[in-house]
């Protein structure tokens, strides 16, 4: 609320650049499309036109000044997606040797107002690089993720800061918190993988610990694709593969016998069968026949929207078993 009222104040006290005495020496330059028929023309507001007419004028003479810096602020507030304005602003910040911590505050404000805008996040990244200090980035992204826990921009920025400045220490705790708030937050699951992959790696112990953790989460929400995918992610690093990790295979069998028909569970058992057949383990519990039956169940009962996919996949399995396609 306070934000919008201050914006309103700003608008009622707004003075056009053309009416500002300190800009008298500049001749504003109109945009020239160069054609006499409108092509995706924008009916600019008077304010927008005024600001950008002066923007064109200062860029043309490459003016590096305080007033030009102020002008870029007005220009990005009108259109935060204009990457040229941002680049020009950075040039000025550099040549005037401005205090970049002040600019960090501006970037934060702009991110708050445009959380899904690429340019504002990029601006922030450049500032952090220039300052060589990422001590405020975890906090900033946490604020933004509190508003939208799946904001892709915030996650990319956070991953970049963590990886570049080695800020892994508390990250798994943060991920835990997010998964307690929303067990289906796929971004958080992805972050969990990112942290482990870049720190301890998936050693035997880590695989065990992570498997326990994930199976507990699956018990809470059995139709949660994110957790099932993460489980598969862990098992990519288990040399035993999908079906020979008895903790996982037992868990799946128990779940199945208890009457759970989550497509993700059944798909997992199908893939266990697939692996068993491909590797010629000849485990009768994970046979081709069982896989084909389960594909049929998925297609006709438990995952009908993917009917054609499961029919196709059953065929792939058959062809693999007959040696027609390489596994």
């Amino acid at each position: 609320m306070s934000d919008s009222s201050s914006e309103e104040n700003e608008d009622t006290t707004w003075v056009f650049y053309r009416d500002r005495p300190e800009w008298k020496d500049i001749e504003p330059l109109s945009q020239d499309d160069g054609v006499d028929v409108p092509v995706v023309e924008i009916a600019y507001s008077e304010k927008f036109k005024d600001v950008y007419d002066y923007f064109r004028a200062v860029v043309q003479q490459n003016e590096q000044s305080e007033r030009a810096l102020q002008l870029t602020e007005d220009a990005v507030k009108l259109n935060a997606a204009n990457y040229t304005v941002w680049q020009y602003r950075r040039n000025i910040l550099k040549s005037l040797n401005k205090d970049l911590w002040e600019e960090m505050k501006f970037a934060e404000k702009m991110i708050n107002q445009n959380p899904k805008n690429y340019q504002v996040w990029h601006h922030r990244k450049v500032l952090v690089e220039e300052l060589n200090d990422a001590s405020k980035e975890l906090y900033l992204t946490e604020i933004m993720l509190a508003q939208d826990a799946k904001n892709y921009h915030a996650w990319q920025h956070r991953q970049w800061a963590i990886k570049t400045y080695k800020l892994f220490d508390d990250e798994l705790n943060y991920v835990d918190e997010l998964l307690i708030q929303d067990i289906r937050n796929n971004s958080a699951w992805n972050q969990r993988y990112f942290v482990i992959n870049n720190t301890t790696g998936f050693t035997k112990e880590v695989i065990e610990k992570e498997t326990d953790y994930t199976l507990k989460k699956i018990e809470i929400a059995k139709e949660n694709e994110s957790a099932w995918n993460y489980l598969r992610g862990i098992l990519l690093h288990d040399e035993r593969g999908l079906s020979k990790n008895t903790e996982v295979s037992k868990f799946c069998e128990n779940l199945y016998t208890s009457g759970c028909h989550s497509p993700f569970l059944i798909a997992m058992i199908v893939d266990m069968c697939d692996e068993n057949v491909s590797k010629k383990h000849n485990d009768p519990n994970f046979s081709l026949e069982r896989a084909l039956n389960l594909c049929d169940d998925l297609a006709t009962k438990y995952d009908i929207i993917r009917k054609k996919y499961w029919e196709y996949f059953a065929n792939v399995l058959k062809e693999k078993a007959e040696g027609k396609v390489s596994p």
Partner: protein, 347 residues
Amino acid sequence: MEKHNKLYVNKHERYFLRFLDILPSALEKFDATRVLLTYFCVSGLDILNALDKIDNKKREAIINWIYKLQVVNEEEEVSGFQGSSTLSTIKNKSKNSPLKWGHITATYTALCTLVILGDDLSRVNRKAIAHSLKKLQLPSGCFTAAKEGTESDMRFVFSVASVCYLIDDWSGMDVDKTIDFILKSISYDNGIGQEPGAEAHGGSTYCAIATLALCKRLNSLSRRQLDGIIRWLVFRQQSGFQGRPNKPVDTCYSFWVGGALKILGVYDLIDFQENYTSVILTQSKIMGGFAKWVGLNGDPLHSYLGLAGLTFMKLEKCQLNQVVPELNITVNAFQQLKVIHDKWRSS
């Protein structure tokens, strides 16, 4: 399928034509990407078989305006097309001036628009563009969008691949490095993220797969990776498509995810009825256009991608021109491009 929920073809036609003229000031946030909007409208009309509704004078104006956005600057190595006329004034007309730089997605959409409108690309300085592309590739294999001042991710990898394909010159891209970047961006869940470590996403998965197709390097994917990607893609269907697991369905993913499946030759595995209904419910029957979600206002991006996604399903009642998924232009436009390429190659 189309019985109860028909596609309002004429409304969409008028929607695109309206945007080709003038946008309200509420859309000032698109000011830096007017070329992209032009592409959505022109390609949208092409899908609707309505290019003839753009009269000759207008057609010429669009083509000339786009060419005016071309930058040929071999000294600064910033050749390509700008996203809009923000920096164009009467004074610097067709002259290089500070920060007049090409942007790779603008270059991609500018070239597509020219091809769709029947231009022969003879005024495109292909050599200069290919040369400037080299400046955009990072050691990781990823690309930025302009020489300085933009982020880098899979969107720009795709944009560069498309531009290389369109100008029929791959000298600006180190293809092996690009493929390496793509393979490293495959996530543990088999989808593909914007960069290594990032969450798999329908948009970046499309960009990656389309790039592989344009480079003719789909065979870089192992059988296991391919099976995994297909599984990840088909699992995005809820009714329409979502962009990531546990996210809501959104019109544009019927194109991004559908397009990736189409490129991989397995589009038929999806549920057409569910997808059709989901997309069609986001169309505005009054204003035309499509929205991200039911109940929201339409916008040019979702309007175009909604429609482009529908072309993958051969509809019975209305004739939509098919879209070539990896380049995102219609089959007709693609054939025109092939004629241009043949001419270049024989000269």
